[in-house]
């Protein structure tokens, strides 16, 4: 029983919630979690479409998960370094690149 349409709907809603979180929050770690949520939503899209396109889509999900894990490790290390410098992870206090 293919559930392509409902799965695409759930993944679209999850992706939109993730974008909303990135735009709404100021805590860098919560923003990071919202990015992970968006990656997960895209994974759900790939898995749903793999019912139509074949097993290769699941291989792509495998690669997305690898990239997400690497990104989480490096990103959290960056957040740690920023916290040591600014004593805060609030993005309003971090405006080093502002002209």
């Amino acid at each position: 029983m293919p559930l392509i349409g409902p799965a695409l709907a759930v993944s679209a809603v999850l992706f939109v919630i993730g974008v909303f979180g990135v735009l709404l929050r100021r805590n860098a770690i919560v923003i990071f979690m919202c990015v992970e949520l968006m990656l997960n939503a895209v994974n759900l899209t790939f898995v749903a479409l793999s019912q139509a396109y074949g097993i290769s889509a699941q291989v792509i999900v495998f690669f997305v998960m690898t990239v997400a894990a690497a990104e989480a490790a490096v990103g959290l290390a960056i957040i740690l370094a920023i916290y040591r410098h600014h004593k805060s992870v609030d993005l309003q206090n971090i405006n080093l690149l502002k002209g």
Binding site: P6, L14, G21, L37, S56, A72, A77, L80, A81
Partner: protein
């Protein structure tokens, strides 16, 4: 239909937990909401005949990545943060942008395999749409259900991973090595 009800139960749980992740203020509670979302997504993956991906989702995301997040939250002692929502103009811009994005993405749910095949067959980009959309055959010319029976679930995904996608698979090992080195260097006391 039992399976469809289960699907909507897990989908609803995932969406509700994602909303709590965005709206609650305590980062640790947010992390647990994200765990609930990922476990619900793993259940959905199992239902969509992607058992291997579901297992990896639980191991890598709900296990390893979330432990990393919780570890950093507790290391930085962020348990008692105040409200960190942005101010009204930024929230308004965000709501508008999200509305536009949602109006683009949500209609995708009307897609079915037949409609995708129809739209694809009209496009001139693809040489032979029948090759892509004939889902009764996979790349090796086998029926997918029979192939799964013969090779098992991990074997089914391992075949393309180690044949067609061997070079990207090896490249991910370089990516992971770079990520390890980068994380160690960045997390050292003095950069």
């Amino acid at each position: 239909m039992m399976a469809e009800q289960l699907f909507w139960f897990f989908g609803g749980t995932a969406i509700a937990a994602a909303l709590l992740l965005v709206l609650l203020r305590n980062p640790i509670v947010c992390a647990f909401c994200l765990v609930v979302t990922m476990l619900s997504l793993a259940a959905i993956f199992f239902m969509l005949q992607a058992q291997f991906i579901g297992a990896i989702q639980i191991l890598v995301y709900a296990g390893a990545v979330m432990v990393l997040f919780l570890f950093v939250i507790m290391l930085l002692n962020l348990g008692r943060a105040g409200s960190d929502l942005r101010h009204a103009p930024a929230v308004f811009t965000g709501v508008v942008l999200v509305g536009v994005l949602a109006s683009q993405l949500i209609p995708l749910s009307g897609y079915s395999r037949e409609r995708m095949a129809l739209e694809y067959s009209r496009s001139t980009l693809l040489a032979n749409p029948a090759v892509v959309f004939d889902s009764t055959m996979n790349a090796a010319g086998l029926n997918p259900a029979r192939a799964t029976l013969e090779r098992g679930v991990p074997g089914d995904i391992a075949m393309p991973l180690f044949q067609q996608y061997l070079v990207p698979f090896e490249l991910t090992s370089i990516l992971l090595l770079a990520a390890i080195v980068g994380a160690v260097v960045l997390a050292k006391r003095r950069i």
